[in-house]
Symmetry: C2
Subunit: 242 residues, 2 copies
């Protein structure tokens, strides 16, 4: 048993005072910390309980199921995004700047929690729009409001929103794909595990792998975003810039 001390029958409720009562935020931040530290596969109800000095079943008071807990983690990421957005400038010069700010903040949050990023893909593919976590919906609202205020009609705003989301999430996902095969190795080629790539069948990949392993960084993200957005301003749609 995870009893604090002695050979008592079990953890006494008075021990709780040591760590304070449980609540949703404590559960979620412990879960996120655990995932950051040891990866998604380390996150089990029992393990998370142990992390909080509590039995696994206690967590079900704050998340209806493990899937709900994972949705909670997604929400936690978006809450961090909201904080990050609140931290710097309030309003943006124009809608493009607004989208860039959003994109950059999302990028930063994702890079800060690389192990949690797969959740964004899996949970958002599992949960229908209306049931997404509140913070996610607030994010959508802000982006859409930004676009509508800029003069885009409903259909165009929705198209821009989708393109924005696709690029942002795709970019982060590609940015986080692991390239290093053997971290202990000093030689770059061995580090990348190039000896696994047949020189006969994969010559181009082999010679490009080193370049591929470089990150695009926030600049790459911004550049692609601009390229996509140009299509909606230079193209058919009607859009103001204030």
């Amino acid at each position: 048993m995870a009893n604090g001390s002695g050979t008592g029958p079990a953890r006494r409720a008075s021990d709780r005072g040591r760590y304070g009562r449980l609540n949703r935020e404590r559960v979620l931040s412990a879960a996120l910390a655990l995932v950051d530290r040891e990866g998604l596969s380390a996150l089990s109800m029992r393990r998370l309980g142990a992390e909080l000095n509590v039995e696994a079943m206690a967590l079900y008071r704050y998340a209806a199921s493990k899937d709900a807990l994972l949705d909670g983690l997604v929400e936690a990421l978006y809450l961090e995004l909201e904080e990050q957005l609140a931290a710097d400038a309030g309003e943006d010069a124009d809608w493009r700047a607004g989208l860039h700010r959003f994109a950059r903040a999302t990028y930063d949050v994702c890079l800060a929690h690389p192990q949690a990023v797969p959740l964004l893909a899996t949970r958002l593919l599992a949960v229908p729009l209306a049931r997404r976590p509140a913070a996610v919906l607030r994010d959508h609202e802000r982006v859409l409001a930004l676009l509508r205020k800029a003069g885009f009609d409903e259909a165009t705003a929705s198209a821009v929103f989708r393109a924005f989301t696709a690029w942002l999430h795709g970019y982060v996902s590609v940015e986080l794909r692991p390239m290093v095969d053997n971290p202990d190795e000093t030689d770059p080629a061995f580090r990348l595990g190039l000896h696994r790539l047949s020189a006969k069948e994969l010559p181009t990949l082999r010679e490009t792998a080193a370049a591929l392993a470089e990150r695009g960084g926030p600049e790459g993200l911004a550049a692609g975003l601009d390229a996509l957005l140009d299509r909606f301003t230079n193209g058919s749609a009607s859009a103001a810039s204030g």
Copy 2:
């Protein structure tokens, strides 16, 4: 027990003749079929074994672990992509057309196996480049070769490759996000579950949700791809068009 008939001690080896011997391809295609039919969570070693009239442990001869089996599913998707690409025209007019063909084929394969798509995100975030399934590496090789042959230098080809991949995967992922909350409902608003979206706090999202639920289709994919590629041809990089 999953015995064919009677009360014999267990399935006899002679029963194998009924279905033929197991092999990797049979295992993977049964796994993909199961995922297509019942979703990723239905895929367990025991269940897949049952599907093949075999005990779970038999599968370990064809996949070293469950994670390896999932990587096998990713490979299966890319094999289907290769088939699809081989089916239509052989060579492309230029590199842009080549990328569009690739993108379209990937889009089609993903839409044909929506339940398997999360694997692309999760497994490619879990496995380093050099250990990706062979079919995935062949895909990379083809795209990179296309770009180098078009005259892009190593760095630019790698940047284009990353942007291409990011857009493609992001687009598919957004396209497959479920929008319908209650499929039994006929009224569009209830179907989307708009009553869950506070009219006060999420007004824009609420009014845009219907438009958001529409798909961008292959056209949207192609449009965004062109927008991104323009950046690399009109911009600084040097690239021919043959």
